[in-house]
Amino acid sequence: MKKLEASGLTTEEIIQAYRTILLGRRLDERLWQLTRIGKTSFNISGQGHEVGQVAMAMAFQPEKDYFLPYYRDMSACLVWGMTPKDILLGSLGKEDDPSSHGRQMPNHYGSKEHNIVSHSSTVSTQFPLATGVAYGAQLKKADYVTLTATGEGAANQGEVQEAMNFAGVKKLPMVFVIENNGYAISVGVDEQYANEKMSDRGPAYGFPGIQVNGNDFAETYLAFKKAADNARSGKGPTLIELMVTRLTSHSADDDHSIYRTKEDLAGLREKDGLTLFEKQLIEEGYLSQEELKAIDSDLRKEIDQATEAAERMPDPTADSILDQVYAD
């Protein structure tokens, strides 16, 4: 059975998925560059999460569904409608940054225009918020679905349980995702939780919990499709544990070579969903090696242009510091 075809998506959609996955990778590489040369002060990266995130996000209807992401969700936000320039404006702390207008650190993705709700740095506070957004759908009799994400470490926060518990009680139209990359900064899963799978927590709140391999595009897409469909049709929430890989250090302030074993680090490339996805594209005849390359060089150009455009944009000015503390 062909792996990508199993998703049921069209060739066009699969190629579009690939473009977004690669865009996420190349854009993040650009953010690291900007950090290294001091044009931004920080980056936290979704490398190794891209395939899972794109497959996840494609299962939703971004023009009406809400997304409450966490800091690694750049690729999912691209599917939801944010542009590379939007992301860059945030990293550069520019006035037109749709996430925060330069007020939050980089990677705090949000966009009113695209139904992507702003998140804080305090992990997992978006979970209770997401239940409010989802309860709004019930009140409005609207058929939008709400998706919210966090990491496997942050998923242990009490607020996450409280939110999932409420979602179970109200059968809210929503999907919870735990992106499990095995680490919370330096803390491995053995020190983070003792249950076998984080997805086990869904049933503990009265709804399904499913673990999926985030490097398996079709498996991920189908699991989220089903979860989104269930939510939309009134069958209530689902928790999905998305198994992914953290290819980089936790953030620009971290060096994972200190606490990850040599074997772990050496094995990372093999666990890179992007490479696997490219192999599948070629094997299943979607794209040739040449075409992959062409897409890559297209995207690099797009990112260069976006970077230039973003850099030219104005910074927030000191006199705006008290704007929008309160209404009026």
């Binding site: 702003s118 918020l129 409010g132 989802a134 009140l139």
Partner: protein, 330 residues
């Protein structure tokens, strides 16, 4: 204007009810808030029946969730009112109130907002012991983006809750649980609001200025009547807008008499009165004829249960009167 006799509690209930009738985006929830119980104090009694279980409902026993649920509903256009059963139980929700509600507007420069109301019964003198008597407003005070208000009369209770519900900012609305049934007065049946950002001079006088809110404000008002017979006339200001403060009114009242007594039933240190003192010391220093005096509970961690201890903690009418007299005679 048609008036109706109402307790402080009824006035709050009426305000909520009117807003729910006028704006279907208003929803209310919390522990025991829905169903037939309608809150442990009965503030929401009847609302579920009137407006349906979708708009007035029980939540599980999880305050962090109450805090965040409200913000989420606010994001998509609702006017949620989350009730904390006691002000003491805001504490599990502090993260949501500070990290989310109070910063949503600022961190998106207004793209997303949290037009939510959190209600919480606070205050002591009800034999509630350490965890059913607290004044927790100091914990949330000074978080720009968040408003904190509290009414000290039935009239203000109705007008202030209505203003809070219509406000585009997150508002933490404290209700003094001793005042719920203690105060009763004529309240307009018409629609009116009380501004969220204005202190209120509730009594005029020349000899000293008392600044307070809640139960102790009512003590000051009573004390002022008896002191008036002694020839002491107190200017009394109800803070009402605990945060941000209405500095203008407060400073003006301080300057007027030159003698300032700040009264709170909370512990002395770190109370709202400390900020008010600082504001007055900054802006009215040369108008003062006496040191600014703060009257407050002792610095014990909240209010003990045993009668003698609760009494020792409480700032009662006598203590207020004595402090007023002393200051007037300074």
């Amino acid at each position: 204007m048609t008036m109706a006799m109402m307790t402080y509690l009824e006035a709050i209930k009426k305000g909520i009810e009117e807003e729910m009738a006028r704006d279907e985006r208003v929803v209310i929830f919390g522990e025991d808030v829905g169903g037939v119980k309608g809150g442990v104090f009965g503030v929401t009694k009847g609302l579920a029946e009137k407006f349906g279980e979708e708009r007035c409902f029980n939540t599980p026993l999880t305050e962090g969730q109450i805090g965040g649920l409200a913000v989420g509903l606010g994001l998509v256009g609702y006017r949620p009112i989350g009730e904390f059963q006691f002000a003491d139980y805001i504490l599990p929700a502090v993260n949501q109130l500070i990290s989310e509600a109070s910063r949503m507007r600022y961190r998106t420069k207004g793209d997303w907002t949290a037009p939510v109301v959190y209600r919480a019964p606070y205050g002591g003198g009800v034999r509630g012991g350490l965890y059913h008597s607290q004044s927790t407003e100091k914990v949330l005070f000074g978080q720009p983006g968040l408003r904190i208000v509290t009414p000290s009369s039935p009239h203000d209770a109705k007008g202030l809750i209505k203003a809070a519900i219509r406000c585009d900012d997150p508002v933490l609305f404290y209700e003094h649980k001793r005042l719920y049934r203690l105060l009763k007065e004529d309240v307009p049946e018409e629609d009116y609001t009380v501004p969220l950002d204005k202190a209120n001079v509730v009594r005029e006088g020349e000899d000293l200025t008392v600044i307070a809110y809640g139960m102790v404000l009512n003590h000051a008002l009573k004390a002022a009547e008896t002191l008036s017979e002694e020839g002491i006339e107190a200017e009394i200001v109800d803070v009402r807008s605990l945060y941000p403060l209405d500095k203008e009114t407060l400073v003006k009242a301080a300057k007027k008499t030159g003698k300032v007594l700040l009264v709170t039933e909370d512990n002395l240190e770190g109370s709202i009165m400390s900020e008010i003192s600082a504001v007055i010391a900054e802006e009215a220093l040369f108008d003062l004829d006496a040191p600014i005096r703060r009257l407050a509970g002792p610095d014990s961690p909240s209010m003990p249960y045993a009668i003698a201890l609760e009494r020792a903690f409480l700032v009662d009418e006598d203590k207020v009167r004595t402090a007023m007299r002393e200051l007037a005679e300074f």
